[in-house]
């Protein structure tokens, strides 16, 4: 009996805090860690008699997001009330959008967008444990500073087929939003939040399985691991003859455990109805023009430019355009390298940025100890053969650890390339003398053990020789 193969079917729901100056429906300035309840007003506190008025700039940012993902922009959009009770929701309803969102459809790379809409963020609830003031129960404290912050909610179609694709696509989305300048998109600070809707189905079928919702993952790595864990869980469940229950789940990155967030709570009945306090938003030609004019170079365009103008290979063009920080760093290093003699070339620089990215933990190499200038210098040293690949890697390790100037490190560590027949030929001869059996075989035409000689020379020169050059000198010495 052949085993059924399953494929994951994943849709993503992303909440983006917009970096307007004021909240979505009142003029309170946005708060960044100020003392609790110091950025509030009667409106965002939900005091009796208050009314919302929509932030024009938030609409503008929403339109830009829609343009960036190729959505259809509604000529007329309305807000709805989403009614439920929770202490972080002062009015007892959230003003959001329901069936007439700002943007519908669209696509970013290989994932289709279902919709983009605007809404207000909830306040912050902090658990404080037992309180003498609250009898019989643990207590929480509500801070309304965050309440009312403008959010754009981006919902994809269930086009994502793997955990890796999810995290890679989210990085692209983050880069896109960062390029647009509409958000700080910082997952740790909460300005970018992502939930995943996950189901699986037998490969080749088109019907959707029951989906679960995975929430509260605050890094790309956790999202990838969480999705992978949940897909595995569902698969194991189905293979054991069970069924997937629709529920909301939480992924613990430390234990890789998946637990249910809301087990027996009844499904919310949000009783959506059009927000009577806000007239329909008419999207004028003026607003559309302003949004179009404000569009920066988006990842797709940058990717094309890197490939066609700078001649980067497909892989590098994509990596550097899908991750804005790498792309920005690349362009800064390229600028620095343009002034050198000879100028630093794009593809080698791109390759070395990959090397840097592999060594540095953070998302943005600009935060590391390696300046774009330093990296450009490193690439230039390799390009002018003053440093071997191996030697350069050692220098890069030192740069990542301590920063500094590559030329200085080369000098102080004595890492400069060893090259040329004068320097290498004696070492090659010493290698042949030390390995007479190998030398015999080589002279006999059997090239297989040549690596032993090359390895000996590399070790003797502490990696400062170029492997290709050494091989050529060995042949020359042997008269081959």
């Amino acid at each position: 009996m052949s085993e059924v193969r399953y494929e994951p079917v994943i849709g993503l729901e992303i909440h983006v805090q917009l970096r307007t100056r004021t909240k979505m429906f009142c003029s309170c300035p946005l708060s960044f860690g100020e003392p609790p309840n110091t950025h509030t007003c009667p409106v965002c506190l939900g005091l009796p008699g208050t009314l919302p008025v929509a932030n024009a700039e938030a609409i503008h940012y929403g339109l830009m997001i829609g343009l960036a993902v190729g959505s259809e922009l509604a000529p007329r959009s309305i807000f709805h009330r989403k009614n439920y009770f929770y202490p972080d929701l002062p009015k007892g309803y959230q003003i959001s959008q329901y069936d007439e969102p700002l943007c519908s459809g669209g696509r970013l790379a290989d994932v289709r967008i279902h919709r983009v809409h605007l809404e207000e963020d909830a306040a912050k609830l902090t658990h404080v444990g037992a309180s003498g003031r609250i009898h019989g129960s643990d207590a929480s404290v509500v801070d309304f500073n965050r309440g009312g912050t403008p959010l754009a909610e981006i919902v994809t179609e269930p086009d994502v087929r793997s955990a890796e694709q999810a995290s890679e696509w989210l990085r692209l989305l983050r880069t896109t939003l960062r390029q647009l300048g509409v958000s700080d998109v910082n997952m740790e600070e909460g300005s970018l939040r992502c939930d995943a809707n996950i189901s699986i189905r037998p490969v080749g079928t088109t019907e959707l399985g029951t989906k679960t919702e995975l929430k509260n993952m605050n890094s790309f790595r956790f999202i990838e691991r969480g999705i992978r864990a949940e897909v595995a869980r569902q698969e194991a469940l189905l293979r054991a003859g069970g069924t997937v229950t629709q529920e909301t789940l939480h992924f613990d990155p430390r234990t890789e455990a998946i637990t249910s967030l809301r087990s027996k709570e009844e499904a919310h009945d949000y009783r959506y109805f059009p927000e009577p306090d806000l007239p329909p938003v008419l999207i004028t030609n003026e607003m559309l023009d302003r949004a179009r004019t404000a569009m920066p170079e988006l990842p797709a365009a940058r990717e094309a430019r890197f490939a066609s103008v700078l001649g980067l290979n497909v892989e590098s063009a994509r990596l550097l355009s899908w991750r804005a920080e790498l792309g920005d760093y690349f362009e800064a290093a390229l600028d620095a390298g343009a002034a050198m003699q000879p100028p630093v070339e794009a593809q080698p620089l791109a390759n070395w940025i990959s090397e840097l990215s592999a060594r540095y933990d953070g998302d943005d190499p600009a935060d590391s100890n390696v300046t774009p200038q330093a990296l450009a210098t490193l690439v230039q040293l390799v390009g002018s053969k003053k440093l071997t690949q191996g030697g350069a890697k050692q220098v890069l390790d030192r740069l990542v650890a301590e920063g500094g100037d590559p030329a200085a490190i080369v000098a102080s560590e004595g890492l400069s390339a060893v090259g040329g027949a004068d320097e290498l030929a004696p070492v090659v001869r010493a290698a042949l003398e030390a390995n007479p059996d190998v030398a015999e075989k080589l002279r006999g035409g059997d090239m297989k053990p040549i690596g032993v000689i090359v390895g000996y020379v590399m070790k003797a020169t502490r990696g400062r020789a170029d492997g290709g050059e050494v091989t050529a000198i060995v042949r020359a010495e042997l008269g081959l």
Binding site: F85, V128, D143
Partner: protein, 95 residues
């Protein structure tokens, strides 16, 4: 006639506790009101668009300019319970 269970379900959605006698009374009163309202079910409204906004306004948007915030003391002044500069409530229960 509305069932007790329906009244209790709606009361739950509205976070409204009803005493036993209130539930029965409400069931009766709500039923008679709903019967009266039911008349609109008989109307032919297929081609009629709903009015959600009586006023069609253009540019009811606000410029992104900061305005004054309330002093925290004022924001908390009417609060039934306060702690650490915030509004104190019993914690939401999980599940």
């Amino acid at each position: 006639m509305l069932e007790r269970s329906e009244v209790l379900h709606v009361a739950r959605l509205a976070r409204l506790r009803l005493d036993d006698d209130e539930v029965d009374r409400m069931a009766g009163e709500l039923s008679s009101i709903l019967d009266h309202i039911a008349a609109i079910a008989a109307l032919d409204l297929d081609d009629v668009p709903p009015t959600s906004h009586v006023v069609e306004v253009e540019s009811a948007l606000r410029a992104d300019e900061p305005g004054p915030c309330l002093d925290r003391d004022v924001a908390l002044a009417q609060a039934p319970a306060v702690q650490d500069g915030g509004f104190l409530v019993p914690s939401p229960q999980a599940g």
